[in-house]
């Protein structure tokens, strides 16, 4: 009896040592995107440590929001750690740069950055790449819809002078034109700016019905505060990039009534009971807040969680075909990820296909307003 037990133990150890699943993670825990990368890093710690009886190792590297480092990390993870999957990175430029590395190493990669370009247009390289955050286009559609419903005819845009602001401007201006909404101003500001008075005055002189602020995180509060200070009375729209509690803290009472699109996770508790995302989103929120305290969860951690869920869902399928650590396993894992069907994550329901490596539909976004310093689901 004892011998068999020992033998079983030994064999599990032996198998474990041979065939752990290794997941490489590179994210921006420091540098300008740190406010996104830190909750993602915290979330990686919460992901399942065993899947279908296999031990899963997470190797987490910081790319300091730097593209070169992200590429270096991805190369290192593939060549030295022989990972079966890469999760990362946090920002669009980093993720775009990693596509070549992942494709060359024939390793599937799940990005946590928003731009549609990461998985579109589908080609030989992007075949290996998946992503979890909603496309800007999905979010823009929601905003434009809300605008037409509220009889907004003229809109001004103030956005980050980087890829984020530029991406939003492109998507939004395209959609607005189709819906006959007139764009009267297009201004830019920097994340580190200490004053946006010039931009705000320019926008105000165009007298728009509504203003869209294309910024992420707490920096997006600065134009909003300046607009209120100068007495702007119209509707102010923000993007889902601001969906964290620090934004509410910094913006305070000046953000009252702001409208923004967001993943359903932000208002998970307020979703109707029949919403397919409610249960899975609350599960993540519960787990995160149990470790980091109440109110600490934010949308960015959800992207990492969904990446983990996609993997946890695909891994058992791939394990039936090949042993972790082999090229065959990575291929099988890629195929399994592509075959993801009806998987409810924290941000929506994933249905992947060979041409769609995001797999989210309209259930992945809701409109939210800020009321009394909290997020309220707009009905």
């Amino acid at each position: 009896m004892k011998k068999t037990l020992l033998a079983t133990l030994l064999s599990t150890f032996a198998v474990g040592a041979l065939a752990d699943i290794n997941i490489g993670v590179t994210l921006s825990a420091t540098g300008p995107a740190a406010s996104l990368g830190i909750p993602e890093k915290n979330t990686i710690d919460l992901l399942p440590k065993t899947i279908a009886g296999q031990k899963v190792n997470y190797i987490v590297l910081d790319d300091a929001s730097d593209t070169t480092t992200a590429v270096k990390n991805a190369k290192k993870l593939i060549s030295e750690n022989k990972v079966d999957l890469i999760i990362g990175s946090t920002t669009t430029p980093n993720s775009l740069a990693m596509i070549d590395v992942a494709a060359e190493g024939e390793t599937p990669m799940i990005a946590m950055a928003a731009a549609a370009r990461i998985v579109e247009p589908m080609d030989e390289k992007r075949k290996w790449v998946f992503k979890t955050p909603q496309n800007d286009a999905q979010m823009s559609t929601a905003i434009v819809e809300h605008m037409t419903n509220n009889n907004v005819t003229t809109v001004a845009f103030i956005g980050f002078s980087d890829a984020y602001g530029e991406g939003w401007w492109k998507e939004f201006s395209k959609l607005a034109e189709v819906r006959k909404i007139k764009l009267v101003a297009n201004e830019r500001f920097n994340r580190t700016d200490t004053s946006v008075t010039g931009q705000v005055l320019k926008v105000l002189s165009a007298k728009p019905d509504a203003i869209l602020i294309g910024g992420a995180g707490t920096p997006a509060a600065l134009p909003q505060k300046s607009l209120k200070e100068k007495g702007y009375k119209g509707i102010i729209y923000q993007t889902h990039g601001v969906a964290n509690n620090d934004f509410l803290r910094v913006c305070g009472k000046d953000c009252e009534g702001t409208v923004l699109p967001s993943g359903p996770m932000l208002v998970a508790a307020q979703l109707p009971a029949d919403n397919p995302v409610k249960k899975s989103a609350l599960e993540y929120v519960g787990k995160y807040e149990a470790v980091h305290g109440k109110g600490s969860v934010n949308a960015f951690g959800g992207y990492a969680w969904d990446a983990g869920m996609l993997f946890a869902n695909a891994a058992p399928v791939a394990l039936k075909k090949a042993q972790p650590g082999s090229r065959e396993f990575r291929l099988a894992l890629r195929d399994a990820l592509e075959g993801t069907a009806n998987l409810a994550g924290s941000h929506g329901v994933f249905n992947m296909s060979p041409s769609d490596h995001l797999g989210l539909d309209q259930r992945a976004r809701v409109m939210v307003t800020i009321q009394q310093g909290t997020w309220k689901l707009a009905r």
Binding site: T192, V196, G198, Q199
Partner: protein, 346 residues
Amino acid sequence: MDLQILLLLGQDGITNGAIYALLALALVLVFAVTRVIFIPQGEFVAYGALTLASLQTGKVPGTIWLLLALGSTVAVLDGYRLLREKRFAKLPPLLIFNVGLPLLAAAGLFAMPPDQLPLWAQAVVAMLLVIPLGPMIYRVAFQPLASASVLVLLIVSIAVHVTLIGLGLLFFGAEGSRTPPFTEISFELAGAPLQGQTILVVVASALLIIGLYFFFERTIYGKALRATAMNRTGARLMGIPPALAGKLCFTLAAAIGAFSGILIAPITTIYYDSGFLIGLKGFVGAIIGGLASYPVAALGALLVGLLESYSSFYASAFKEVIVFTLIIPVLLWRSLTSKHIEEEEE
């Protein structure tokens, strides 16, 4: 474009320019006395603002740990030297200033929730926590290299900057903070609203500049600093220790930085890394003054603020480009009009 917009932009430019002017003065001072191009000047702004913000949320600011760590390092470095030279009488003040007071401050912060204090007291506490970092950083990072070349000092200065930014992220987190305004008053000036906080920034900056003028003209320490700036060797022969001059000017630089941080914290959101860009704009001002002339540096900084404000109205996407391009014609003009003076003494 009407008069009101013109006025509002000018007002905005002068407010920012006043802060840049303070930083430009600090940069000129540090460079003149120690030949250090003080890149981390902006970090004091961020540390001052964020320390105040974390005091207000009732948290113990991470600054105190840096203060304790740097203080102990200084005590060990200097204590070892004093012991070897058997100058025991100097030990107690060294220990009290570098270890005792920070410990006392830490104990005080833990014993009493700082969010109970009135705003001005919190501002004073924040200043007291940040200012000693200046001389300590000088002692640890720059004093051992005091006679090195400007280039070496610049490299060390960048290292200090990167370290402080990293620590800032650790202490204050990645998200920004904003503090409540010191005053809610607002006026009407030719039809344009004028915030009380804006006036406060300009007046406080002006007062500080006047204060600095009197410090340099009337006090023995100020004169000692000026003497060191003019001629290091000569000042040393007259009995002004270079280490004292260095520490003193770093104290002033830290004080100016922390003060600016507390002034602008209510009008903008400050991040752990926003100090760098603010400091850099002060640096453009200082360059206009040739890193030597205080009034020209202050005027230059004011020009940077105004240029920034107006360019953010006319071409917001190119704002930083316009501001930093200003440095090229200035450098050209400077190098054409002034004769090159050899910096190095060796």
